[in-house]
């Protein structure tokens, strides 16, 4: 019985981790520019800007 509870606990932790990663991914917007991600290996690292203009 104890091992079942442990299994349940571990599976819920894994599910929570998966949900956490998913939320991070949506906030990053990675699911929206897969085309760009396909080219990431040939891109330079992004520099950090000092100011924004819109």
């Amino acid at each position: 019985m104890d091992v079942l509870i442990l299994t349940l606990f571990v599976s819920l932790v894994l599910a929570a981790a998966g949900v956490g990663l998913f939320i991070w991914s949506v906030r990053q917007g990675t699911h929206e520019h897969i085309d760009r991600l396909a080219l990431l290996p040939i891109e330079d690292d992004d520099p950090t800007p000092d100011s924004d203009a819109q």
């Binding site: 949506v26 929206e32 203009a53 819109q54």
Partner: protein
């Protein structure tokens, strides 16, 4: 690398070649962009891009005033500046690569992130970066840049809720499987029930509240939205299961089914919104008058102001391609294009002191000053740019269905309670079972899927849906009304017969090319395009007189190419364009507007399906009738000389809000687009019209418009079949529930089966369309 070549597809975009194009490109835009890419050493684009057929429309003359504040911000910064702009036309990895390559050519550009789905580019640049040069380079290869628009934050929220609900539902199903396969008591069973309850509660909170809030908002507005039956199903099924949980009756707990139902409904909603949102994001935002800028002269300095800040008496400085924001008195001769306001396809000559109408574009090369006659608030443009007030009558079918569904489900649940009134504990379980098995899977997931498949198929053909209710309205269309210039025609003239050119001597022919190729007038460009082997002489100096034509002294002789009464004033010549040698006409040329490829065939095909085609134009009636003759339309269905208000009035008088699709491209069409039941536009390179239409299309021909109507009719058949299947399932499932036979395990099987059955029916029915 050479562009992929084929005899049937465009070497640049991969679209099917229209009949008569022998150069391997579907349009002049693609040919231009191909030449630029080859000239710049960017042929790798053709290795990366898919062949999905989106012709390019390079435009080197767009107004870039909106870039000036951004450029100022870059210059004011001492370090790096991040600049966000919207981009239109990016659709694949090749586009992303191409924009990145163009960006990298300026060493002060540090990073360029292109997001094709959102239609956005984020640039990180150093001081001195040539933003205007970058914009022109990007637009020269067929993309459009614009100021960043606001994005609907609900889109990300829906994706998040759907993903989390799916994870919760999957875990709930895993636990309930253990129970269905024998876990019936003990400490782990109790723990599993608690976790199951918690997972279902979280699913309802995370996912169910999306529908509950939408249903509540629609009720407050007095409307009955489809979210209402979904929300009622979720709330009652969860409430009944919760009661059974606390009452200790495991047979009345349907937590796993509730969780899966919520997740499925969110998948359906996400599918429904994804394509429409994506199509919207890929067009530049249009913020009405707020996105229009002009230059005003104050104290001897030109300042950039929003058009709605223009006051009567202001002096405006207009450059080539600039919009005249208000009626303004010209302070110099100029040529103006009025196609945006009245469909008139040719630039017209205006003299100093004449009134330039609001909505005209300056076509002549030299900048001119003009004095504003009235403030922007009184400009006719202000009315044309006002937000559309479309009546929301499209969802009548779904409203009726939703109403019947809600009443039906509540009646069935009440019937179950009455039937089992003699046994209160069973009555609750049976009633909960009825509410669970009647959850509206068909229109929660299968119907959105059907719409998604049809929208995706349209997008592959080059037609992009902007309004989710378009297909519901399009199936009612029995009449299609086209604007003329830019819609049925491509807006540029073509030479009818090149025999007069062939009859010229070599010297005269060379002079004709020297004049035509140096002109900015569309008719002269049509003449230049008729030359396969034209070569410009470097020693020729040609002059253009706006609205009249070109003239040059070549080898001691005066050549003129232009209006007959100007080129050869001493001769009575009945021509469209005349080449004169020392005042004597030597070639009389006729042009007409070039039709969109397959326009005639598509109009015939529309008529064959019982849909009436009409032309409603602001251009002269004689020209509209001539076009009708070329298209094989009766002249009584070709109406010219119509102002924007006349067009809207005609449509209103003819019941267009019930049965008419209007297709137009200019700002003069916005009022008509607001009146018609459905509206569409081929013009995505100019603001306003796409933002007011239900769809836009990017193909050279009109085929997607006809296919839209046939898809809408086919979609109706599929939706009805889905609903019929759902009704049959519900009748069977409710009968089982009434008999007290629906246990949680059976509900957990029945609901996915009904969903999968309707999804399979939808997919198979629309396989040919997709």
């Amino acid at each position: 690398m050479e562009a992929r070549s084929s005899t049937t597809i465009c070497a640049h975009c991969g679209a099917a070649l229209p009949p008569g194009r022998a150069d391997g490109f579907c349009c002049a835009g693609c040919a231009t962009v191909h030449a630029i890419l080859r000239g710049e050493g960017l042929e790798r684009y053709y290795e990366l891009r898919p062949l999905d057929g989106r012709p390019a429309s390079p435009d080197a003359e767009r107004d870039h005033k909106w870039l000036e504040p951004l450029a100022d911000a870059i210059e004011a910064s001492n370090g790096l500046t991040r600049v966000r702009v919207d981009v239109q036309g990016v659709h694949c990895a090749a586009c992303v690569w191409l924009i990145g390559e163009l960006f990298d050519r300026d060493p002060r550009g540090r990073a360029c992130v292109v997001n094709p789905a959102r239609g956005r580019v984020e640039l990180t640049v150093e001081r001195g970066f040539d933003l205007d040069g970058f914009a022109r380079a990007v637009e020269s290869v067929g993309y459009l840049l614009g100021p960043p628009g606001e994005r609907d934050p609900r889109s990300d929220a829906l994706t998040l809720r759907m993903g989390i609900s799916l994870a919760l539902a999957a875990n709930a199903m895993m636990l309930s499987l253990a129970m269905y396969f024998g876990l019936a008591d003990g400490a782990f069973h109790a723990l599993a029930r608690q976790v199951l309850f918690a997972l279902a509660a979280m699913t309802v909170v995370v996912g169910g509240t999306w529908f509950i809030r939408a249903a509540w908002q629609s009720l407050r507005r007095g409307a009955l939205h489809l979210d209402l039956p979904i929300a009622i199903g979720i709330v009652l099924a969860f409430a009944g299961s919760t009661y059974s949980y606390f009452a200790g009756d495991a047979r009345g707990e349907f937590f796993d089914t509730v969780a899966v139902f919520v997740a499925f409904m969110l998948v359906g909603r996400w599918l429904q919104e994804r394509m429409v949102q994506r199509n919207r994001d890929q067009l530049l935002a249009s913020n009405g008058a707020e996105s229009l800028f002009t230059r005003r002269l104050r104290d001897g300095r030109a300042e950039l102001v929003r058009c709605d800040a223009v006051e009567a008496g202001d002096t405006l400085l207009l450059a080539r391609g600039d919009l005249v924001p208000v009626d303004a008195t010209l302070e110099a001769d100029a040529a103006l294009r009025l196609d945006w306001i009245n469909g008139e396809s040719e630039p017209l000559a205006f003299e100093r002191g004449q009134l330039a109408p609001a909505g005209a574009f300056l076509a002549s090369a030299a900048a001119v000053q003009a004095r504003a006659d009235r403030p922007f608030a009184e400009s006719s443009l202000n009315d044309l740019l006002a937000p559309p007030a479309r009546a929301a009558g499209a969802g009548a079918f779904w409203d009726r269905l939703g109403r019947f569904y809600v009443l039906g489900v509540l009646g069935l649940a009440a019937g179950a309670s009455l039937l089992w009134a003699h046994d209160p504990s069973e009555a609750l379980r049976v009633t909960t079972a009825v509410l669970v098995v009647t959850c509206p899977c068909a229109f929660g997931i299968a119907v959105p899927l059907a719409y998604e498949l049809v929208h995706a198929a349209s997008a592959r053909r080059g037609l992009f849906v902007r309004e989710a209710t378009l297909m519901d309205r399009a199936r009612e269309v029995t009449r299609v009304v086209f604007d003329k210039t830019g819609t049925l025609t491509v807006g540029t003239p073509e030479l009818i017969d090149r025999a007069p050119i062939d009859a010229l001597s070599d010297a005269h022919r060379a002079a004709l090319y020297d004049l035509a190729a140096r002109s900015t007038h569309p008719k002269s460009r049509a003449v230049a395009a008729a030359f396969d082997d034209g070569a410009l002489r470097a020693d020729v100096v040609a002059h253009e007189e706006p609205g009249r034509g070109m003239h040059a002294l070549i080898d001691g002789a005066l050549y003129r190419l232009g209006r007959p009464d100007w080129a050869a004033p001493a001769h009575d010549v009945d021509g469209d364009l005349v080449l004169a040698h020392n005042g004597a006409p030597i070639a009389i040329l006729q042009t007409h507007e070039a039709l969109r490829p397959n326009a005639r065939e598509e109009i015939e095909a529309l008529e064959a399906t019982g849909v009436e085609a009409w032309i409603l134009s602001g251009d002269a009636t004689a020209r509209v009738h001539a076009l009708a003759d070329r298209l094989g339309l009766p002249r009584e269905r070709a109406l010219g000389d119509r102002s924007p208000e006349d067009k809207a009035a005609w449509l209103r008088d003819h019941g267009a809000e019930r049965d008419t699709l209007f297709v137009g491209d200019g700002i003069n069409d916005t009022l008509a687009a607001d009146v018609a039941l459905v509206s569409g536009t081929p013009s995505i390179d100019r603001p306003f019209m796409p933002a007011r239409c239900d769809f836009y299309f990017t193909t050279a021909g009109l085929t997607p418009v006809r296919e839209l109507l046939s898809d809408a009719r086919r979609l109706r058949g599929v939706v009805r079949a889905d609903l019929a299947l759902a009704v049959a399932y519900n009748l069977g499932a409710v009968a089982l529930a009434y008999a007290g036979l629906v246990e949680p395990w059976l509900a957990a099987i029945l609901m996915p089966i009904s969903s999968v059955a309707t999804i399979a029916l939808t997919t198979l029915s629309l396989r040919r369309t997709a």
